[in-house]
């Protein structure tokens, strides 16, 4: 019946276990030309690996840890290989302290890395505890030139190459650039606002009707004015919101964005701002910026690479926008003369946009979903 016990306990094991598995925390910082590090290793793990509880009373005291610090250092350093382009480093433990983490006490080893040559980048190979506990992970944090990157090292990926600050900033920039492009692509309300605003760009309002623009230049200038105004406005508020200088509740922002689409679409049907739609672009662009900021906050920003991330994200949004406009504008210009453009696309399209915007406003204010857009 002993086997059944095992069975049973297995079954009830399905709800998630209530601790985390074993981790160590390795923080490497570049200090001028030299590298220092602090490596926190759990006392429980060290007990398993080298033995700390010499008197076997089930408790690890400060005295016991101190007595074993040479063995601990040897074990730790024996499972860490660091090298630069100029050759292998010779890390040494200069001090052993204690640190408490959420799951117990850790030995905090203070290290200097002693790397040869001018410091450019590090390659770290980590193998602590893997033979005893393959679920152990090394959580590595690398700080250099004001930028921080974190890496999780496990048996499947025990090594990592760390580049100094610049490259980390570039990576942050690139990551967020892609996020920016993506979020404008999936931001249907932002796109609808922009397109609705740009629909009349290839037309002029004369004698109470929309008529095709005669020349190319005014049309393209109109587009540029609108896009620029929108860009400037949302960049400003995006930055202000992310830096937490200004803060607006998400529900208000989302509803206001829907409102912006409503007003813009109505303006197409009953032009109040015919030639100066860039004002609408600017005014509402301020609101859209807050919308983007909510997204960025959800993505999480690394303090160390804030400027790069923010700039990258903003630029990504611009590029995404530019791509949409680049597709829309030539097509619109080509068919601007047709009644189809004026009646179906501008006319009926704007009516549809009014409808959608009204539903959005209701959804966002009331908290229900109708359209699912």
């Amino acid at each position: 019946m002993g086997r059944w016990v095992f069975l049973l306990l297995t079954l009830l094991a399905l709800p998630a276990h209530a601790h985390k598995p074993s981790d160590s925390y390795l923080g490497i910082t570049s200090d001028g030309g030299a590298y220092r590090a602090q490596w926190d290793i759990a006392l429980r793990d060290l007990e398993l690996a080298v033995g700390l509880d010499m008197n076997r009373d089930g408790e690890i005291t400060w005295a016991e840890l101190r007595q074993r610090q040479v063995a601990v250092a040897a074990y730790a350093l024996g499972h860490l290989r660091i090298e630069t382009a100029a050759g292998a480093c010779a890390p040494e433990v200069t001090d052993t302290l204690v640190e408490h983490h959420s799951d117990g006490a850790y030995a905090a080893l203070i290290l200097i890395l002693n790397c040869p040559g001018a410091v450019q980048g590090l390659n770290v190979q980590y193998s602590l505890l893997f033979d005893l506990d393959p679920t152990h992970r090394g959580l590595l944090r690398y700080t250099a030139d004001g930028a921080t990157s974190t890496h999780v090292l496990g048996p499947g990926n025990p090594g990592v190459s760390l580049e100094p600050g610049e490259a980390n900033l570039w990576r942050a920039f690139a990551d967020y650039l892609i996020e920016g492009v993506w979020h404008i692509w999936i931001g249907f309300d932002h796109i609808l606002f922009l397109i609705t605003l740009l629909l009349p760009a290839v037309l002029v309002y004369r004698s109470g009707r929309w008529q095709p623009a005669d020349r190319f230049r005014p049309a393209i200038i109109d587009v540029l004015k609108i896009v620029t105004a929108f860009t400037v406005a949302h960049s400003v508020t995006l930055t202000l919101a992310v830096l937490e200088v200004v803060s607006l509740p998400a529900r208000f922002v989302e509803t206001a964005i829907a409102f912006s689409v409503l007003v813009t679409a109505l303006n197409n049907l009953y032009p109040v701002f015919a030639g100066s739609r860039w004002l609408l672009a600017f005014g509402f662009g301020l609101i859209h910026g807050f919308g983007f900021a909510n997204v960025l906050v959800d993505l999480g920003l690394a303090r160390g690479a804030l400027a790069a991330s923010l700039f990258g994200f903003n630029l990504g949004v611009e590029l995404g926008q530019a791509a949409i406009v680049a597709v829309f504008f030539p097509l619109a210009y080509l068919i601007r003369g047709s009644a189809f453009y004026r009646r179906a696309i501008l006319g009926a399209g704007s009516v549809a946009a009014v409808g959608i915007a009204a539903v959005w406003m209701f959804e966002r204010l009331a908290g229900y979903e109708i359209l699912g857009l």
């Binding site: 209530a18 598995p21 076997r56 204690v98 408490h100 992970r137």
Partner: protein, 376 residues
């Protein structure tokens, strides 16, 4: 990216030098390091690492320990014991079964199922494999397959065990009444304490969901008496007591269990409900640190509890909702559903609750708490 932000937010206290030599830094779990039979087994395996029988036995011990202590380090040790076979595509059936258990524990359900399918092909009489596979099917929402696996059990074990297996699946797939009857009849035929405890726990949960509070209380007490202190049972009972506004009993129940994150969370909520704000504050800070460090590692297994934490102790309904939505993508059982509903109601965002509402309708789940939430 996100991890870097978390790490700087975590900013642990500076490392320090203890003032005195006899300061106790860490108390070790007795079983592992006390020099008892487990240590002996470890030593024997270290001398003979390719010994399948030794390795499997040790791995089983570790898994049992890991479960009863709610400590996943043990599962790592179990995997290490099986290291000579772990990466083999076709290891001996014994190892495969253990590997499936460990994988299922980490919620790698597909990989676990693959191993179990292979075991059952070569050893169709392996009752444990049937049972484990049934539970995975249940957790992943494949109720038909789960019941099929349970039924296969009747050929190889006593009917009572199969009944408990079936009852467990029926309980979460909308057949609460039938499940209860099945479990009650099985109970009279079960001898083994662990099995009885399991059946009683499920019966308690069923009656709880149906709103039969007195009977639920009875079954919980019976379950507690039927076997050793089981973290899962404690968690479910604590939730029941909290719902019934009995926080002081929760504190009593969980007095020695604060190592376990899920139980610490319930204790923190109970402390707050009982007006013991100092204690609640202390527990909350502990929990915050634990959740943060789990996230650094990329650990997604705490999502439902993290949501509960955000909702009850940080009063952040939006964040709670976000966490339950992520959780719902990974697993769907009545507790996940209930949590998502709670969060949606609190955040005033019924749009988010749609998938759960559909799930409830599809499986005809009867649950008093959910109904109340839906009516709000």
């Amino acid at each position: 990216m996100l991890a870097a932000a978390l790490w700087s937010a975590a900013a642990p206290a500076e490392p320090f030098t203890p003032k005195r030599d006899d300061v106790v830094l860490e108390t070790l779990p007795r079983t592992l390091f006390g020099g008892g039979p487990l240590a002996e087994q470890r030593a024997r395996l270290a001398d003979d690492p390719d010994n399948l029988a030794l390795a499997s036995e040790l791995a089983r011990e570790y898994i049992t320990l890991g479960r009863s202590q709610s400590d996943p380090r043990y599962f790592g040790y179990a995997q290490a014991a099986l290291d000579p076979w772990w990466d083999q595509p076709d290891p001996p059936a014994e190892v495969r079964l253990l590997r499936a258990t460990l994988l299922q524990n980490r919620h790698h359900f597909e990989a676990a199922l693959k191993d179990l399918d292979a075991v059952l092909e070569s050893e169709p009489r392996n009752a444990q494999a049937w049972l484990t596979r049934a539970v995975i099917h249940q957790v992943t929402g494949d109720y038909r397959a789960a019941i099929a696996d349970c039924l296969a059990l009747t050929q190889y074990t006593g009917g009572a065990i199969a009944d408990v297996c079936i009852g467990n699946t029926l309980a979460v797939s909308g057949h609460a009444g039938r499940a209860y009857d099945l479990l009650r009849s099985a109970l009279s035929r079960l001898r083994h304490a662990g099995m009885r405890q399991w059946a009683l726990t499920t019966m308690a949960q069923i009656t709880m969901r149906l709103g039969e509070n007195q009977r639920a209380e009875q079954h919980f007490q019976q379950a507690l008496e039927a076997g050793p202190r089981d973290p899962y049972l404690l968690r479910v009972y604590a939730d029941f007591l909290l719902d019934r506004d009995r926080p002081n009993e929760v504190l009593e129940l969980l007095a020695d269990e604060t190592r376990d994150d899920a139980l610490l969370l319930r204790a923190a909520i109970a402390a707050r409900d009982a007006g013991r704000y100092g204690l609640a504050e202390r527990y909350t800070m502990l929990l915050e640190a634990r959740f943060r460090e789990a996230r650094l590692r990329g650990d997604l297994l705490h999502l439902r509890d993290a949501a509960l934490f955000e909702l009850e102790l940080k009063s952040d309904a939006e964040q709670a909702l976000e966490l339950t939505r992520r959780n719902w993508r990974l697993q769907k059982d009545p507790e996940d559903a209930r949590m998502l509903l709670r969060a949606a109601v609190a955040a005033n965002d019924m749009m988010a609750a749609k998938p759960v509402i559909e799930w409830i309708k599809r499986y005809d789940i009867e649950d008093v708490t959910m109904q109340t939430l839906l009516e709000e």
